[in-house]
């Protein structure tokens, strides 16, 4: 698996919120502080490439498959919480 898609959010003991945060910190290589305020293209690493790593991380962490429309809509940490809800994942 390419480096960009490697992450460790599947740990069973984590809450959904912890897993969700982990996806951002690992896929985008950002610290956990301030992660709630993250927006697409708001940091250098959340470019279109980082976006695909983030999507892969979320899909693996929650065992879901995101539709293209939702991938496009995933514009912020906050927005992602609403999108996860559509897949039955409560953050």
């Amino acid at each position: 698996m390419p480096e960009a898609f490697r992450h460790e959010s599947r740990k069973k003991s984590m809450t959904n919120k912890e897993k969700y945060i982990n996806c951002f910190t690992q896929a985008l290589e950002v610290p956990a502080e301030g992660v709630e305020k993250l927006e697409y293209q708001g940091v250098e690493s959340w470019d279109s490439v980082g976006h695909m790593s983030l999507v892969a991380a979320l899909e693996d962490a929650f065992g879901i498959q995101m539709d293209t429309d939702d991938i496009v809509d995933l514009s912020s940490f906050e927005k992602g919480i609403a999108i996860m809800k559509k897949y039955g994942v409560e953050i």
């Binding site: 698996m1 390419p2 960009a4 490439v49 999507v55 892969a56 498959q65 293209t68």
Partner: protein, 250 residues
């Protein structure tokens, strides 16, 4: 020879024509196949079983109608769930339509784009993401020589296939860094049902313009797809492989 051993190849339009020939060739080279078609029937099922028996590979049957967005979505869900390891995609299924520019109704234009372009892009978007996560993959979009040369009578078909070529190049650029290749294969006239859609006189004219002076046998196109699918083409991406018997060699 087994040059696709250990690979899982998804091919659309597997039940007949070029797709059926690719399925057999890829299976003979050791690939497991995710075989997509739109109709379930006993003949098809037993045909697939015969390929399994002959080549000792696995075939997973998936049904999707490219003209039906819900059916495509459902099939892609199944692929994403059960076939995360797919590393070859051949977007082969397609429809043709022959009418002059002024005799092409918008509804036909939409239908052709739905099947020959939109659905194919959706499949690419889903499957390329699976491949990017594996760090490898080869996507082959079956375009048409007609899309490259342009010509009267093919507004809908030619435009949709030309769009498919463009999408192939964009994908090649964006997915290349993840080890995923994307190429278009553009056949000239091939001896399948679609190859005989034109009136005989028209077919004659095309053959006249073809350096080799004949139609392609489907196996000749399938071998080009095999080249693009396999590591024999590991440094080839974003290309259009014209397998047209020298129609554009002038």
């Amino acid at each position: 020879m087994g040059i696709l051993k250990g690979r899982k190849a998804l091919i659309t339009g597997c039940n007949r024509g070029l797709g059926r020939r690719m399925l057999e060739l890829f299976a003979s080279e050791g690939a497991d196949i995710v075989a997509c078609s739109r109709h379930r029937d006993d003949d098809y099922r037993s045909d697939m079983e015969s390929v399994v028996g002959k080549h000792g590979v696995r075939i997973f049957q998936i049904f999707m109608d490219l003209a039906d967005a819900a059916s495509v979505k459902e099939a892609l869900g199944e692929i994403g769930r059960d076939h995360k390891d797919v590393s070859v995609l051949v977007n082969n299924a397609g429809i043709a339509f022959n009418a002059s520019f002024f005799m092409t109704p918008p509804s036909k234009l939409r239908e052709l784009f739905e099947v020959d372009f939109f659905a194919q892009v959706e499949i690419m978007q889903s499957v390329a993401r699976l491949m990017m996560r594996q760090g490898r993959g080869s996507i082959i979009n079956i375009a048409s020589a007609g899309a490259v040369e342009g010509g009267p009578g093919y507004l809908a078909y030619g435009s949709a296939k030309a769009a498919l070529i463009y999408a192939t190049k964009v994908l090649a650029r964006e997915a290349g860094r993840y080890g995923v290749r994307a190429n278009a294969l553009a056949p000239g006239l091939a001896d399948t049902a679609m190859g005989h859609v034109k009136p005989e006189a028209e077919i004659g004219k095309v053959i006249e313009r073809t350096a080799l002076g004949r139609m392609a046998d489907p196996s000749e196109i399938a071998r080009c797809a095999l080249f693009l699918a396999s590591d024999a083409s590991s440094f080839v991406t974003g290309q259009v492989l014209l397998a047209d018997g020298g129609r554009q060699a002038w």
